[in-house]
Symmetry: C2
Subunit: 209 residues, 2 copies
């Protein structure tokens, strides 16, 4: 599959590397590819970079891993027509320091905002509940844990489920509606406090039932 | 320990029975003890009932398990002076149907509202992340799972931690600040959707790190 990863932060980089490791053709979208290539963390990478307006050309799937508060602006430049968009971002607002608050919550979610801005795309919320190293390598944790996905379109959910399985996820809980992204994003306020209490971001929940 | 349980719904009943089972002296607070005793689910119970104004007399610990949207009003009648108050309630608002929204969130929490209304009490948020049958019998799930507690007062947290251990909880994650209740209460939007997806309320998360 050709996957366009939007976002050049640490999580975008790890996801892009992770998708390539399992055999996908990956391109990373950024506002200014030349400026990104000059950044220390990208100068040694052979991951292809493309401008936002071009990155989705020929792509089968797009992954949003930009800062949640910049996602709508960044995605506005991407042609998502007919594509599955996996939204990994979280609407964390650090403007008042740590712990962050959520800039959208409860009766709406970032994933739904993106879906409304791009009615031609099929948005699936997934992977936002864990740190990037766990997203691409769930086996790095000492036990199998649980990952979630939520979306309105059944075929899009199936595509993302298969991608999660390729990454090594086994316990995948699926919500047949994008509004479940509200619950997935509202897990973050507990997640950030757990990161503090546990002293690591490398943890996840295993759903026991 | 003498424990006053505030709330006569199913969760209050199960918690009161659970505390008694592990040897505590339990009294259940209600607005009108005679009316409560006439309700079908209480007529056959020998759990003592007391009016809200009297229920905390002689108690060592008070547990709030009222409906989250009625908690402040109910607790206003209870004398919490110097007592540890375990807040188990969740601020779920079902007025627009299912799934519920949260009537307080993100920058505040029900637990903090209760603490501000009762500065003389030592509020600890705990047990709100699981259904009542799991609260009092964590061993009913097929694997050990995780429970949380949050509070400003270290001695109060220690008291609640010991009570959770008596109920059978082993993996207890403690937050040294009541504002972590924001995270614990914001877990509920995901919890209610999981209840729908899994078809049961009898589940919990096991924190894997």
């Amino acid at each position: 599959m050709r996957i366009a990863v939007i976002g050049t932060g640490s999580a975008g980089r790890q996801l892009a590397d992770g998708f390539r490791r399992i055999g996908h053709d990956v391109v990373v979208g950024t506002r200014d590819p030349e400026a990104t290539r000059q950044r220390e963390e990208w100068s040694g990478s052979d991951l292809p970079l493309a401008a936002l307006a071009d990155v989705a050309t020929g792509a089968d799937l797009v992954v949003n891993v930009t800062n949640g508060n910049a996602s709508l602006e960044a995605l506005a430049e991407v042609d998502l027509d007919g594509l599955v968009l996996v939204d990994v971002a979280n609407p964390l607002d650090f403007s008042a320091g740590f712990p962050p608050t959520l800039s959208v919550k409860d009766t709406d979610s970032l994933a739904e905002q993106i879906q409304r801005a791009h009615p031609e795309a099929r948005v699936v919320k997934a992977l936002n509940t864990v740190t990037a190293s766990v997203m691409v390598d769930p086996g790095s944790l000492p036990e199998q844990t649980t990952i979630f996905l939520a979306g309105d379109d059944a075929a899009a959910r199936e595509t993302v489920r298969a991608l999660l399985a390729e990454l090594g996820w086994v316990d995948i809980v699926e919500f047949p509606g994008l509004d479940a992204a509200r619950g997935l994003e509202m897990w973050l306020p507990l997640w950030v406090r757990l990161m503090g209490a546990l002293g690591t971001a490398e943890f996840n929940l295993r759903l026991v039932r």
